[in-house]
């Protein structure tokens, strides 16, 4: 995924004066501003109910702001056509907090969905999906129907589905909540590797441990507003 230098100057997500409210409930987020540079990596924190999932769904184009403008990949979402939005979404990988797998399909078929949507041929799909499922240690569960998988297995399927397309932006909502520490570390490595290849990453998490273990800036939601904390310590030189 080569990065065009000129484009990389432009933020991949630009949120200006955005408010989110559901129906006539009070605002969840109020008048926030956020700009994510291409290739950046952020944690997203905040108390339960602070609006992390809401902010992410704004970025994966599932939620329209009640006020303000959202620009993703340089396109103002408010003016994008249905088809443009669909094509933009193909460049975004999403890990949902509640996985949202297609429960009646196998792990394999779930991971294959984004590729099938793109119209890729089955031979290529098979190659890519099997490789990735092997990597997340799900070779043996590949053909199991998703509703029969354990929570941690589902989570890994959800992550595999989000990254199978090598997205330009990865939005993960509590992606390591249900897995063992070593798998969590392995998944984090996957995100970091993707980020190194150019993917912009945002990971919503409650885990202070995770935040401490990895040294990335943090978007914190509080009182309907947003603060950005820089990385806790210098990025270790050999990591960049």
């Amino acid at each position: 995924m080569p990065i065009n230098k000129a484009i990389s100057e432009e933020p991949i997500v630009d949120i200006q004066n955005v408010s989110i409210r559901y129906g006539s409930n009070p605002e969840v987020l109020s008048d926030i501003k956020l700009s994510l540079a291409r290739g950046s990596f952020h944690f997203l924190t905040g108390k339960s109910g602070a609006g992390k999932t809401s902010l992410l769904s704004l970025m994966y184009l599932a939620l329209k702001p009640s006020l303000g403008t959202v620009t993703v990949f340089g396109t103002n979402v408010g003016f994008a056509s249905r088809d443009t939005m669909a094509l933009m979404r193909r460049r975004i990988g999403v890990v949902f907090q509640d996985f949202r797998l297609l429960e009646h399909l196998s792990a394999y078929d779930n991971v294959a969905v984004p590729l099938r949507i793109r119209g890729m041929d089955e031979a290529e799909i098979s190659k890519r999906v099997k490789e990735l499922l092997h990597w997340v240690e799900l070779d043996t569960s590949m053909d199991k129907i998703c509703s029969t998988l354990s929570g941690g297995e589902k989570q890994r399927v959800a992550i595999a589905r989000a990254v199978i397309n090598r997205p330009d932006m990865l939005l993960a909502d509590e992606p390591t909540g249900n897995v063992d520490d070593d798998i969590a570390q392995k998944l984090m490595k996957l995100f970091i590797e993707l980020n190194r290849l150019g993917t912009t990453v945002v990971i919503a998490t409650h885990s202070q441990e995770l935040i401490n273990a990895y040294n990335y800036p943090r978007i914190h939601l509080e009182n309907k507003g947003l603060k950005i904390f820089p990385a806790l310590r210098r990025v270790i030189s050999n990591e960049k």
Binding site: A62, A86, R89, L102, H104, R161
Partner: protein, 300 residues
């Protein structure tokens, strides 16, 4: 089972397990059945009308009343031949045929019984006059015939044929309206079943959208289901119709003939009937596709 084989095995929308399928299949099988029956009715009326037209429009019958006084054979023949010659010499007449005593006997048998000998009865003589084309002038001929041989009269088929043709035309109109209504019911059912199904699977559809699926991607899965259901129900409905035709044919084997003649469909008619299942499949496919793209635009 047939659906799971024919539907995309890994389709994201589990439409082959949709509860609406059975409803749609039954509804569409009945639809195709009714459609086939109405269509065959239309074809048969068409065939019958054509036969009447061919057999009757091109001919007229002339009745020669028996004389009130005793005639010698020569006088009687003269009387008859005068009329025959009159018609043979008219323009646009191709052939004049005297209806034989045997045929007369046959014609009269329902009234007189098969054994009665009619040669002794004062029977009218009948002439079948075959016309070459439509240009035959009935009024003028009738007038001249009255002058020449007042004992002969033309029995014009046109009047009752005209009434029958009018009746046939209204039967056809009814058949066509039935066809159109059946079609409308079919299309509407598929449309609303599809809309309902979109509601049932809205979560899956939302996920597919988030992963970048365009409406067409979802519509294709519905279109595929529509095609399979349409084809299956079409075949079932057509088979049911054929079965009931056989039954009707069996029941009416004794009647037959007479006015209507041998009821049968032409090769083109059969072709039209057999094209019902694939046509149903295509209509159902197109309707499902249209319903999805139209509805998703509105609700998501």
């Amino acid at each position: 089972m047939k659906n799971s084989v024919m539907l995309n095995r890994h389709a994201e929308l589990p439409l082959n397990k949709d509860k609406a399928n059975l409803f749609l299949e039954i509804m569409m099988a009945i639809t195709v059945f009714l459609f086939a029956v109405a269509l065959s009715g239309y074809f048969l009326v068409d065939t019958v009308v054509n036969k009447w037209n061919q057999n009757i429009a091109g001919s007229l019958t002339v009745q020669i009343m028996p004389s009130e006084t005793e005639l010698t054979e020569d006088e009687a023949n003269l009387r008859l031949n005068k009329v025959i010659t009159f018609f043979e010499n008219r323009p646009n007449v191709s052939k004049v045929v005297l209806v034989s005593e045997q045929q007369m006997q046959q014609l009269m048998s329902p009234w007189l019984g098969a054994d009665t000998d009619i040669t002794d009865l004062p029977m009218p003589k009948l002439l079948d006059v075959y016309l070459e084309n439509e240009n035959f002038d009935y009024e003028k001929t009738a007038a001249e015939l009255k002058e020449l041989a007042p004992y002969a009269s033309i029995d014009d088929h046109r009047i009752w044929l005209h009434r029958l043709l009018e009746l046939a035309a209204s039967v056809k109109t009814v058949a066509v309206s039935v066809l159109l209504m059946i079609l409308a019911v079919c299309v509407l059912s598929i449309f609303y079943a599809t809309c309902t199904s979109l509601g049932i699977y809205k979560d899956i559809i939302a996920i597919l959208h988030i992963m970048g699926a365009q409406d067409g991607y979802i519509a294709k899965q519905y279109a595929r289901r529509g095609f399979v259901i349409g084809l299956f129900s079409g075949v079932v409905g057509l088979l049911l119709a054929l079965l009931s035709f056989r039954f009707l044919a069996y029941m009416s084997a004794d009647m037959e003939q007479g006015l209507i003649g041998n009821l049968s469909l032409t090769a083109a008619n059969w072709l039209a009937l057999c094209s019902l299942p694939p046509i149903t499949a295509c209509i159902s496919m197109a309707t499902a596709y249209y319903a999805v793209t139209k509805t998703l635009r509105k609700i998501m």
